[in-house]
C-alpha cells in the first residue's frame, strides 16, 4: 500500500517540496547575507554571495562576546529546562492519577495562567524580586522560567500521561513500591517521547527569549546570546550583516540539538501510535 501511495503522489510531493523551498527563503537570505555587507544586503538581498568572507562572523563573535553569551545561555537553558521537566512531569502525574477537586482546580488554574499577558506581571515581578534583592542573578531567571514554564509543560504531560495505562503502575504499587520510586522507575521511562517534545519546545523558548533576561540580567558578564545581539540594533536602525552572522551563530546549537532529537521525536510519535 505504501508503495502504491508513493507512485500515486509525485505531484503532491513536488508541491510540498516547492512549498518548503518558499518557506525557507528567509533562511537563505540570512545565511547568504551573513557573508555580505549591510549595504549590499539592502540593495540586492538575493544575489548569491561572491565569497565566504567570515568578516561578519568575526565581528559578531567579538561584539557579542560570543563565548561568554554561549556559556550563560547554555547554563540557563539547561538548568531551567531540567527543572521544568522534572517538576512538571511529577505534578502532571499526580494531577492525572489523583482525580480530586483540588487536582482539577490546580489544572484549571495552570491552563488559565497560560493566557496571562506577560505585561500584567512584569512590573510586579520587578517590584517583588527587586525588593528581595534577587535581580541581576541567573538563579532568579531560572526560577522565573521554572514558574512560567510549568503550565505549558504540565498541559502537555497531562495529556500524555492520561494515555498511559494505569495497570503498569498498579502492579508496582502493589509490590510495595513507594510512590516517588514508582514515578521515577515506572512512569518516567515511559514519558521519554513526550519529554523530548517538552525539551525541544522549552529549549527553543528559553534559548531565544529576550524580554525576561533583559529584565533580570543587567551585568554584561551575565548576558545571554540573544541579549548580546543588542549591539547591532541602534535606536532607529539595524546593522543587518553582522546581526545575521550573529543569528546564524546563535541558532547553530539549537539546530544541532534539533537534529539530534529529530529521530527521537519521530520515534516518540511512533511509539505513541503503537500503544
Amino acid at each position: 500500500m505504501t508503495a502504491r501511495l508513493r507512485k500515486r503522489r509525485p505531484v503532491s510531493t513536488v508541491a510540498v517540496f516547492a512549498l518548503l523551498i518558499l518557506f525557507l527563503v528567509p533562511f537563505y537570505l540570512v545565511l547568504n547575507n551573513s557573508f555580505r555587507t549591510t549595504e549590499l544586503f539592502v540593495s540586492s538581498p538575493f544575489r548569491l554571495t561572491g565569497s565566504l568572507d567570515p568578516k561578519n562572523y568575526v565581528s559578531a563573535f567579538q561584539k557579542m562576546r560570543f563565548m561568554n553569551g554561549l556559556g550563560n545561555s547554555f547554563l540557563i537553558t539547561v538548568c531551567s529546562v531540567a527543572l521544568i521537566m522534572v517538576t512538571a512531569s511529577m505534578s502532571a502525574h499526580y494531577l492525572v492519577r489523583n482525580r480530586t477537586r483540588l487536582s482539577a482546580g490546580i489544572f484549571g488554574l495552570m491552563v488559565a495562567s497560560m493566557i496571562v499577558p506577560f505585561q500584567a506581571v512584569m512590573i510586579p515581578l520587578a517590584k517583588i524580586y527587586g525588593s528581595l534583592n534577587l535581580y541581576n542573578n541567573p538563579w532568579t531567571l531560572m526560577f522565573f522560567y521554572m514558574g512560567f514554564g510549568q503550565s505549558f509543560a504540565i498541559f502537555i504531560f497531562h495529556g500524555f500521561i492520561k494515555g498511559i495505562p494505569f495497570e503498569l503502575e498498579e502492579a508496582a504499587l502493589i509490590d510495595g513500591c513507594g510512590k516517588l520510586k514508582n514515578f521515577f522507575r515506572i512512569v518516567l521511562p515511559n514519558l521519554k517521547p513526550v519529554m523530548v517534545t517538552v525539551l525541544i519546545l522549552d529549549v527553543l523558548w528559553i534559548w531565544n527569549d529576550f524580554l525576561l533576561p533583559s529584565m533580570v540580567l543587567l551585568s554584561p558578564e551575565l548576558r545571554t546570546l540573544p541579549l548580546s545581539t543588542y549591539s547591532f540594533f541602534t535606536t532607529y536602525s539595524v546593522d543587518y550583516a553582522p546581526l545575521m552572522a550573529g543569528l546564524v551563530l546563535t541558532i547553530i546549537p539549537v539546530i544541532v540539538l534539533y537534529l539530534l532529537c529529530q529521530r527521537q521525536i519521530i520515534e516518540g510519535v511512533v511509539q505513541g501510535a503503537i500503544k
Binding site: E39, L75, K127, N137, P138, F210, P220, S231, T234, S237
Partner: protein, 431 residues
Amino acid sequence: MKHSRFIALLLTLLMLSTMVTIGAAAEGEVKLTYYSTSAEVNAMFETMFAKYHELNPNVTVELIPTGVGMGQQEQLQSLFASGNAPTFMNIDPANILDYEEKLLVFDENTDWFQYMNPGAIEAGRMNGKVYGLPFSTQGYGLCYNKRVVESVIPGFDPATINTQDALRTFFETLDAAGVVPTLIHGANWSVGCHYLGLAYAVHGKDAESGEAFIESLIDGTTDIATDPLFQGYMDTYDLLVKYNLRKDDPLVGDYNADNAAFGAGECATFFMGDWMWTVLGTLENKDTEYGYIPVPWSNDPTAYGNTEVVVSMPKVMCIDASQSTPEQQAAALELLKWMLTSAEGQEYFIQAGFSMPYNNVRKDAVYNSMTQAIAGYSAVGKTINIGCFTYLTGDAWAKTGDMMLKYTVGAIDRAQLAQEINDFWKTQTKH
C-alpha cells in the same frame, strides 16, 4: 541507574552556576552602572569606561543597554522598580520630569560647570533645578547634498531659501533638472516630533512660548486649525510630500534605506538631523559634503523660523540619588567631570562626531560637514529652541506622528488632521 545519573548531572550544573553568580565588590572599589539611551554610541561609552578604569582602577562601570524589543522608558522603569537603578544614565531632558524625585540635583556652583557654553546648563533644568548635564549639540532642518544641488544650481547659497516661495522655486528647479528634490522619513518620530514640533516651538524664541501654545491646546482655548504657524508649516509639508522621493510608498520609514538613498545622491534634500551621520557616515557609497537649509513656513524672510534651524541638546547625563550610595554618586560625578571636561574624555566624543557644548573643547576639532553646518547656525544665533518638547514625551510624538502619517498618504485631510491633534491634546494634562 539512569535517573541517578541525570540527577548527578543536574547537581553539577547547579553547582557550576553558583560560580557564575556575581560576588560582592572588594573593599574600596566602586562599581557604577550606566544606562544608555544612545544605542548608536554604546561602543564609544564602553571604550571610554575601559579607559577610565585603567586610569582609576578602583572604579568599574557597567553599561546597561536598552534591550532589543524593549522601550527605553519601560526598561528604565523596571530598573528603578527592581531596586537596580543605574548610578548614572543619559536620558532625554523631557524625561527628567518622571524621575524628578529620584535624581541628584547638581550644585550649579560646581567648579567644572564653568566650562559649559552659555545656556548649556539649561538643557537639564527642570522646575528651577539642574538634574542633567548635556554632552552634545545636535540640530535638524532640511539637509542638502552639496554635490547634487550644485550640479543643478552652481554656487548654491543656502541663505537664499528664506521663504516658502523660495523653497518652492528651489524644488521646481531641481525637479525640472531631473533631480528628486526631497525626502521625508516616513516614521512618526520624524514627522510627529521633529516636523510638527516646529509648529509649536516657533511660537517664540524661548521654551515658554511653545509650552504656552501647547497648554492652550490642552485647555481647548486654541484651535490649531486657526494657527498661522500650523497652517504655514503644513503648506510647506505639502510641498515636501509633493516632491518626496518616497512618493509612491511614503510610509516605509526605513532609516538605513533613506540614509543610503540620500548619501548616494538620489535626492537633493532630506528632512533629518545631523545625527544621521552615525549611519550615513559609515556607508561606502556616499557624498561627504552637506549643508543645512531652514524649513520656511511663510513668505516673510524676516519671520522667526524661516532662517533658523533647530539646535538642541537632546540628551543629558543624570545621576541617581535614590538607590545609589553617596560613594557611587560621588564617583559618578568625578567620572562625568572626566568625560565631559577633560581633553582625554572629550576626544572620544569628538571622534564620534559629537559637537560638545563645552568651551574647552580643542578648537581644531574637525567634524563632519553636517555638524559643521549646524554649528554655523549656532554661531550666529540662528537657532530654534525646542524646549517645549517636554510635552512631546511619552506617546505624544507617536500619536501625533501617526496623525501626520495619515495625512501624508491622504487618509485624512488637513481639517481632520487639525481636529485629531486638537482632540489628542485635550486628553493630556499640563505639567
